[in-house]
Symmetry: C2
């Protein structure tokens, strides 16, 4: 019996600091309904989807609080969960998590069509810095506002109605790190879902990467890691201009050959859908990337024994 | 002072079983001279460049012997080394190595402009099988004919005249394994050289990957691993029809952004050249892929502790 899962990438356009939570949630529900109307069974939203990308601002503790969820669903997010359950649609969504003991994480969950949370994930690869850059209008303070994810890379099963795929979740910068994909693939991962907010350019000036190159990087990472792990990948942006700082789009659904089968064309709210045949993973997993036959872990020691790069001694 | 190294990808067209060693070496010397005439300082040849891709045949011990080098340079390869030294050009070349104690490896060396071997590498990721596939005209018997590489992934310095880049070497299938690239990048690798012989289609029929898709896979792996490791990559094919079995081309020189800056257009002997600014690696190594700041090895344990994929328990 074929295992074909219809997935929607629900790209979001920009969310400004001044936008209300209700306004943003309404946009998400509208995207969910568009996806459901096209028959999607799983809808993938971006990282930190409920708000603007607040780590670009140096915030007071009181300001910071507004961006975090102490429960999911909570009062401000419940309508999305309710509408999804009513439609029988599952979703991935990124959010800022504050735990009961006061820890903060950049997190995501995948929710099943019955409204239950299938698996939470906490971002491991936090970019940016702890201390603000002096004299910069825009910051990247993820290392200040969040703790490093403490759950590892926990693969999980989607429900039977999705074909019970082994799934993985990543968040934004994680997708550029092949280690993260590989740890999931070593658990048999067939479908990776990942949301992101990625700068379209250096908002303070100073480097050489324009929006086209950054979008290329984002898609290249999704495509190659899907191929090298024989998995489907769905990577979804929050895009466009947020309060003067640009974010790339380029949301895409990638097959296990690394080919983009659907991608967004705008920097706004936009849904694209694809039928993902989960059994297309089998050829790669059984032949080229048959890990049991071909991997040589005894040669990979530096990957876990060394963090930073160290050049060899000069001869 | 800028560190700009002019590199040639010296793609080779097919080499038939009946071709003489001298005939093939003459082609290699012609490619070397073409590259040198264009100012190349380093010329990258394919995997197993001196012969046909013999692991496609089930051979007797006596037949097998003819394909192996017991010394490098040796009587049949010395003219290439001599000509390169006379031209002041270095090169990477893949060959079948037989050691004094009778071990066989799928190996490569990088040779400096003064003719000295800078570093040897022995292929770690051997594809194929030990036992021949019954009833198949063509085999893939690398696991039968070669032992797994036993040198790890030894990074080394190119000479001062090349800008002293930290270099890595891979062979063919290795390039699809992100672990191999990462172990080199953890040694500061700025330039990866890799030769390959990759099937253009299943010569026995039976799978779904055509020549276009396989060429795409090959370039995708080189591009993404170059980007994710902030390094230049030069990937060079033996291409075309060898005794009825097809090999992809698609040789390319890739910058640290993952962009192809030069690529071959044929399946024949063909040289393409690019000026590779080694300092273009710095931005990636210092920012996005600053390993010391951003890697989280404590989360990567499965990469070294597990060989094959194991699915999670069903809930």
């Amino acid at each position: 019996m074929p295992r074909i899962l219809r997935i929607a990438a629900a790209q979001m356009g920009p969310t400004q600091r001044a936008d209300s939570r209700a306004q943003t949630l309404d946009r998400m529900i509208a995207l969910l309904e568009q996806a459901a109307a096209q028959g999607a069974q799983l809808v993938v939203f971006p990282e930190l989807a409920f708000t603007t990308f607040f780590p670009r601002w140096l915030l007071t503790e009181a300001e910071l609080e507004e961006y975090f969820e102490t429960a999911l669903p909570g009062p401000q997010t419940q309508p999305l969960f309710d509408r999804a359950k009513a439609l029988g649609v599952g979703f991935y969504v990124g959010y800022a998590e504050k735990t009961a003991d006061g820890k903060r994480f950049n997190s995501a969950v995948t929710v099943g069509p019955d409204g239950t949370i299938l698996q939470k994930y906490r971002k491991v690869h936090l970019p940016g810095s702890v201390e603000p850059r002096q004299g910069s209008r825009f910051q990247q303070l993820e290392k200040r506002y969040f703790e490093y994810g403490d759950m590892g890379f926990p693969a999980f099963y989607g429900p039977e109605s999705w074909g019970a795929p082994v799934m993985g979740q990543l968040i934004c910068n994680d997708r550029r790190w092949p280690e993260a994909w590989r740890v999931y693939a070593l658990q048999g991962m067939e479908l990776m879902v990942v949301g992101y907010n990625s700068a379209a350019y250096d908002p303070n000036g100073g480097d050489t990467e324009d929006q086209g190159l950054r979008t290329f990087h984002s898609q290249l990472a999704a495509q190659a890691n899907a191929y090298m792990n024989a998995a489907w990948a769905v990577a979804v942006a929050k895009a466009g201009d947020e309060d003067g700082s640009g974010l790339i789009g380029g949301s895409c659904i990638v097959d296990p050959n690394g080919r983009i089968v659907a991608e967004t064309r705008t920097l706004a709210d936009e849904v694209v859908v694809a039928d993902c045949d989960l059994d297309l993973c089998a050829q790669g997993k059984e032949k080229m990337f048959n890990f049991a036959q071909h991997r040589r872990p005894e040669m990979y020691g530096l990957i876990t024994s060394r963090t930073g790069a160290e050049k060899p001694a000069r001869g």
